[in-house]
């Protein structure tokens, strides 16, 4: 019997595992564990522009062996995944069947590292105001934000306008270099700061899980602009790096190609039923305790299947997401630099006077996802689109906008007895109106930064790939809820350590908070198991 069995290998799983393994408890992690063995090894460790000019084999990883890098049809969730990252959901449809209602597109990872294997690395803590209605606050999470920072390497600064939102954090790595587009936008922001503040717009350096200097065997980033393809410097944190460190503990074991199906509690522990996905062989592992960290959808599946709650509607929240390609007018026609990164260059928060919630805008420069993908968005003939984009593309930025999300009856997941998950996501008309109004106000502020929006692209419900709230945390939990320590209602030996427990989502990336909360839950569980 192991002390703790952890289902999943994503950001939450490795963060929950760390305090448990560090305390000497016997930890077994079960995971489907798909890896990219096809493309990543073929990508030479050079910068994007050099590869484009010299590598005759570049089509192999830029387009993919099955041409999966050429996006066809309408904009869809996961379309931004490059061929080396498409292993993320390999075989997912068969393992995790779904009925999709209302166009919600859910991506369930089968990869080692879960969805965080393709995470954009934005590491923004939640504030007390944003956790209004949660049974825990920033005070409980802060030591774990710091612990996660110390393990993953977060770069950024506490000295700009976002300090009030981020708070101070010891051990930050130096901020990542901004590229020329971002520097120009940032410069204009500083120039028009008072006016932008009056509108409710704040901007600054993002905090990124990005090793700007050598950190725990990773990095330093050489700014190859290849983060979406193959991060040869290991600069962007991925769960696999923490897993690599966990495997140095003799009391920790990782078992791949295995998925957890269900559990049965007994007086002294839990029997966990799993399946070898290659051999299709069932097995049962005895553990003193089970930690579900298989993602908001995955953990909900396991809980419902185990407690026979089929067809029970569980809540679901997912940040609505929209993006705007913009032209940074003063950069039009200017040369681009060789060394840059593909992650968020500038981060902004916007809250119009009188509004009570922030929305988040991430500014990316567009280059390393290739020009032809932009040509598809243009009604021009392809030749003219290509010729014009060459001169304008260097000034292109993508402004990705996240909105907060709260649960209501129109947003739910249900697991049928046939193992299919039915996802229904119907925002109210009021929510949709509010979202449009906030974006219109935001776009006014973005124009003041010298950015000309070209188009509004709504990739559809679920496109943020942020899913949470299926087993929400409550101070006094009821059925299908968890307590503040993550304990699943009605269970003594099952804890939920992922985003299932987040009652609602502020307009931010959730991964950093997933990790901090999982670290908190792992620490509490360590204390409990050690008696």
């Amino acid at each position: 019997m192991v002390d703790v069995l952890i289902a999943g290998s994503g950001a939450s799983a490795v963060s929950a595992a760390w305090p448990l393994a560090e305390a000497g408890l016997r930890v077994l992690m079960l995971d489907t564990g798909e890896r990219d063995t096809v493309y990543t090894p073929d990508v030479p460790p050079e910068d994007f522009l050099s590869l484009r000019r010299t590598d005759p084999e570049q089509h192999r990883y830029f387009l993919g062996g099955e041409f999966e890098g050429i996006p066809f049809g309408s904009v869809r969730v996961g379309a931004q995944l490059t061929p080396p990252r498409q292993h993320l959901a390999r075989g997912s449809d068969a393992l995790y069947p779904k009925n999709i209602e209302d166009g919600f597109q859910a991506l369930e990872a089968t990869s080692l590292g879960g969805l965080a294997a393709a995470w954009g690395a934005s590491s923004t803590p939640f504030t007390d105001e944003e956790m209004d209605g949660w049974p825990i606050g920033r005070r409980e999470l802060q030591p774990h934000y710091d612990a996660v920072t110390a393990r993953t390497g977060i770069c950024g600064t506490s000295g700009d306008d976002l300090a009030g939102i981020f708070g101070d954090s010891p051990g930050l790595l130096p901020p990542a270099h901004q590229d020329r587009n971002a520097r120009e936008v940032h410069r204009l922001y500083m120039h028009r700061r008072a006016r932008l503040h009056a509108l409710g717009f704040l901007a600054g350096h993002p905090r990124l899980a990005f090793a700007t200097r050598r950190f725990r065997g990773r990095g330093p980033a050489r700014y190859l602009d290849m983060e979406f393809w193959a991060d040869k410097d290991e600069a962007v944190w991925r769960p696999v790096y923490t897993l690599r460190e966990l495997e140095r503990f003799p009391n920790f074991e990782y078992r791949e190609a295995t998925r957890v199906l269900s559990f049965e509690e007994s007086t002294d522990g839990v029997a966990v039923h799993a399946e070898d996905i290659r051999e299709k062989r069932a097995s049962t592992v005895q553990a003193r305790h089970l930690v579900l960290a298989a993602g908001a959808l995955g953990s909900a599946r396991i809980a419902v299947e185990s407690l026979r709650g089929w067809d029970t509607p569980l809540p679901l929240v997912s940040n609505p997401y929209t993006y705007y390609p913009v032209i940074v007018w003063r950069r039009a026609g200017r040369a681009v630099e060789r060394r840059r990164h593909s992650l968020t260059q500038l981060l902004a928060y916007f809250r119009a006077p009188g509004d009570d919630e922030w929305i988040q805008a991430q500014f990316y420069s567009y280059r390393s996802l290739l020009t032809f993908k932009l040509m598809k968005e243009s009604p021009l003939p392809h030749r003219e689109a290509r010729e014009l984009l060459r001169y304008w593309m260097g000034s292109f930025m993508i402004v990705g906008v996240h909105h907060p999300d709260r649960p209501h009856e129109g947003k739910s997941v249900r697991l049928g007895p046939d193992g299919r998950l039915t996802i229904s996501y119907r925002p109210t008309a009021g929510e949709e109106r509010l979202r449009r109004r906030r974006e219109q106000d935001l776009v006014r502020a973005v124009r003041l930064l010298g950015c000309i929006p070209v188009k509004r692209i709504d990739p559809g419900h679920g496109s943020s790939i942020h899913y949470a709230g299926t087993l929400p945390m409550a101070r006094k939990p009821g059925p299908w809820q968890i307590g503040t320590a993550g304990c699943l209602y009605g269970c003594r030996h099952v804890t939920v350590a992922d985003g299932s427990g987040f009652p609602h989502l502020p307009a931010k990336g959730l991964t950093f908070t997933l990790m901090a909360n999982a670290s908190r839950i792992g620490t509490l569980l360590t204390g409990r198991l050690r008696g």
């Binding site: 890098g69 026609g333 040369a335 001169y391």
Partner: protein, 137 residues
């Protein structure tokens, strides 16, 4: 089966240069996978055939499809050829960002839009004929 002639016609339409045997083969493989011949309607097939047999009409028909039927297989195949050309060292110079002074950029943009407009007008005029195979029979 996508012909070498189609690949060359589309590569010339996009960059003014032929694509060569290797990239033509890659283009054919991508079309088989993403935009196969069997899915074409007769009218779509006629448009494609016109663009290949009369390459000077490929650009105008592409422009017309961009307005009339953005998901037309001609647009899809041009898009595939753009991807194939871009993902090669020979094609990189045609796709990588270039710099220009502000006045030059304005002139280039105006010229590009004017060319697109002329192509569109011509394309709209020939589109009905090309659909009906009047131009290739």
């Amino acid at each position: 089966m996508t012909s070498r002639r189609e690949a060359e016609a589309f590569a010339r339409c996009l960059t003014g240069r032929p694509c060569g045997r290797e990239r033509a083969a890659r283009y054919a493989a991508a079309c088989t996978r993403l935009a196969p011949e069997e899915r074409l309607t007769p009218a779509e097939r006629n448009i494609l055939r016109t663009a290949v047999r009369l390459p000077w009409l490929a650009g105008p028909l592409d422009a017309a499809c961009g307005v009339l039927q953005p998901a037309h297989p001609l647009r899809a195949r041009m898009f595939i050829m753009a991807a194939v050309l871009e993902a090669s060292p020979e094609g990189a110079r045609d796709f990588l960002p270039a710099s220009a002074s502000r006045p030059a950029l304005m002139v280039l943009t105006a010229a590009g839009l004017a060319k697109a407009a002329v192509k569109l007008l011509l394309g709209l005029a020939v589109f009905p004929l090309a659909r009906g195979r009047w131009l290739t029979s």
